[in-house]
Every structure is written in structure tokens, then in C-alpha cells.
Amino acid sequence: METKEALFEYVLRIGDDSLILGHRVSEWCGHGPILEEDIALTNIALDLIGQATNLLDYAGQLEGKGRDGDALAFLRYDREYKNLLLVEQTNGDFGKTILRQFLFDAYRTLLLTRLSKSTDEQLSAIAVKSLKETKYHLKHSSEWVIRLGDGTEDSHSRIQSSLDALWKYTDEIFFANEVDALLEKEGIIPSMEGIKNEWTFFVSDIFAEAGLVIPTNNWKQEGGRTGRHTEHLGYLLAELQYMQRAYPDMKW
């Protein structure tokens, strides 16, 4: 595998994470539990979609087959998406959305901090830009995890059950194969091992403060990075791609 090919695959993965999570979070628009959170979630979705545009446009350039960010976002089949299973999970209640966001933001902040120093100029530029936004998302989601975990009996038990449901998707965050090995050797991406240790430490700390318990069941689900998804992605794509599939090449 050549470096360019590996980098295309890698940028697609993290671009798909932004796109799919951005779409999920945007589903809250007009449905937030309070006005301020409706606005917050919509802003976060907008940042993620913006980051997805930058990443997928870059992936298209690396691929060199004339596909731009829009073509990659709207015209692939579900098995061609490389996002984490975590980000395609349904919104559930506000607590589940926040918890999913927190698990992702904590990882993404660590990743972007390191990618800011990537030897690949464009990847580094996107990371520097995105990091400023993602840090703000992490502050928002961390504070809410603590508030809900350490809140009322109801908020505590609901966010705890979301943690029980989502924890099995967290191992996959640190997935690495030959693509990562090649890019890591060239200083383009960081080692996932280092990120995993720091992530585990950080989220454990926040969960302790929130009075939440990490599930002891160690069964883990993976597949997203190789295109094997949960049933939820298909429904999401049906909505995301509807206009382009119904009216090919339509322009807004």
C-alpha cells in the first residue's frame, strides 16, 4: 500500500466520524430539551459538518478520482463508510446524546492535538482548526456528564444506562491496522496506544466525579472501520442521501 492510498483511507475514517456524528446531532434541531441546549447541539453539529467538509474534500483530493467532499458524503453505500459504530448510534434521550458526544470528544481532542503536529501539512491545518472547536465541545459534554450523573436519581440512572449501552463501542475507537502502521511510521498520525491510555484516564476521572460506573462486562463490538455497521447507519444514510438519490446532481 502506498502512503497516499493509506492517507485517503485514514482521512475518510475521521471525516466519516465527523459527518455521521454531525448528522446525528443535527437531528436535535428544534427538539432540544431547553432552548439553550437546542442551540448548543445545533452549533456542535455545524462544527462537525464543517470539519467533515474539510476532511472529505481532502480525502477526495488524495484519492484523485474526481470525487469531492459532496460525492463522498452523498454517493457511497453503507459498507463504504468507515466511521466508528459509536457515532452512528441513535440519539436516545439528551443524556445518551451527551454521553456519546463525551466519549467521542475526549478521543477527538487527544487525536487532534497530536494531528496538529502531523508531517502532512493539510491534515495538520485541518487539525489545528478543528481542535479549537472540539475543545469547546468537550467542555460542554464533560460538564453535562457530571451534572447528569451527579444530578437527580432519574438523570443518574438514565445516563448510567446509556453508559452501559454505549461502552461496548469504545474499544473500536483505538482500532489500528496496516493503514495506521504505515502512516505512523512516517510521522503522519500518532500512535493509538498513547491516545488510549490518556483517554481511559480522562474518561475514568470524569465518570468518577459524576458517580458513574464503567461496566465490567468486557464484550466489545467493532466493525465500523472496515465498513461493517450496526443497523442504524442505513436509516441515517437514507435521510442524509435522500435528495441526491432522488434528484441526482441537484444543486441547492
Binding site: E36, I39, A40, N43, I44, L46, D47, L48, I49, G50, Q51, T53, N54, E121, Q122, S124, A125, I126, V128, K129, S130, K132, E133, K135, Y136, L138, K139, H140, S142, E143, I146
Partner: protein, 161 residues
């Protein structure tokens, strides 16, 4: 024959579509302007990755320069160096304040959880007795505040470093 300086001057007439009181120059999103073989290239940078105003700004730059008799215009987007609120000009800050939007304050590290929100003086009465209503606001670049003294609700242009 137009010069780069002329182009800068023409673009003072292009305002931010979401905060019309600011020109794109005030906002600091124009990075470079170059003229080569009759082609004018304007390089701009987004404030936030998903800022929906960028597309409109691009179109506005092109139509403004066409109006001024510059036919060949290309607008390019760059991400590096990343935009910071430090690039908003002094004039821009004064205009924001006058318009009722509190300009960016120097902020402490955002990663501190439950840190006391930044004190943002009220743009209407100047009081420092204000409170943050929401970390997020009407656009990606703003947060929402209210004055405890005159009760004015207002936008705060968040500091981004």
C-alpha cells in the same frame, strides 16, 4: 490598472452576512490579495470550520469586484494559519460594541470544567455584573449573555485563540 491596494479598498464594502456591521476586513478573514496577468486572487480563511457565511462571502467578493470593473476574480480558501479573534481589528471591535455585540475578551483556558464564565461587560450599560445564559449562541462565533443590572440580553463574540 487596479492595484492590490485598490482591491483592499473595494473589499471594505463587503460586509459579513451574519454580522453586517463588520466588513470582512474588520473580521480579519481576508488573508492575501494578489494580482497576476489580470487575474485577481483573494485568499480568505473561515472563522469556524462550518461557518455557513463563507460561501456567501465568496460570492459577495466576486460580485463586488465585478461591479468595480475587475472581471477575473478567484477566491481561494485556506485553513492555515487558523483564524483567531485577535485578527478582528480595533475598528471592528468598536463597531461590534456599538451594534450591541460584546467583543471578545481575553479568556482563561477553556478546558477548565465549571470555571466561572468570562466576565463580559454589558454593551448597553457597561456593567460588569452580567451572566452567561448559554455557551453557544445565534451563530458559531457567539455565546449568549444577559446583564443583571439593565437586563439587556446580548450576544458575546467568543474569544477564539
Amino acid at each position: 490598472m487596479v492595484s492590490e491596494q485598490d482591491i483592499w479598498k473595494y473589499l471594505e464594502e463587503v460586509s459579513d452576512p451574519e454580522i453586517p456591521v463588520l466588513t470582512i476586513g474588520d473580521l480579519g478573514v481576508i488573508r492575501t490579495i494578489s494580482l497576476e496577468n489580470e487575474l485577481c486572487t483573494v485568499v480568505i480563511t473561515p472563522t469556524y470550520s462550518g461557518c455557513p457565511a463563507m460561501k456567501v462571502i465568496e460570492e459577495d467578493i466576486i460580485s463586488k469586484l465585478h461591479e468595480k470593473g475587475v472581471p477575473n476574480v478567484k477566491v481561494e480558501l485556506t485553513l492555515s494559519p487558523a483564524w483567531t479573534t485577535d485578527w478582528i481589528t480595533e475598528n471592528g471591535r468598536a463597531k461590534l460594541l456599538e451594534y450591541g455585540i460584546a467583543p471578545p475578551e481575553d479568556e482563561v483556558d477553556k478546558s477548565v470544567l465549571f470555571a466561572a464564565p468570562t466576565v463580559v461587560p454589558c454593551p448597553k450599560c457597561g456593567s460588569r455584573n452580567t451572566r452567561m445564559i448559554s455557551q453557544f449562541g445565534s451563530t458559531a462565533c457567539k455565546a449568549h449573555y444577559q446583564c443583571n443590572d439593565c437586563l439587556e440580553p446580548y450576544d458575546y463574540f467568543k474569544c477564539l485563540k
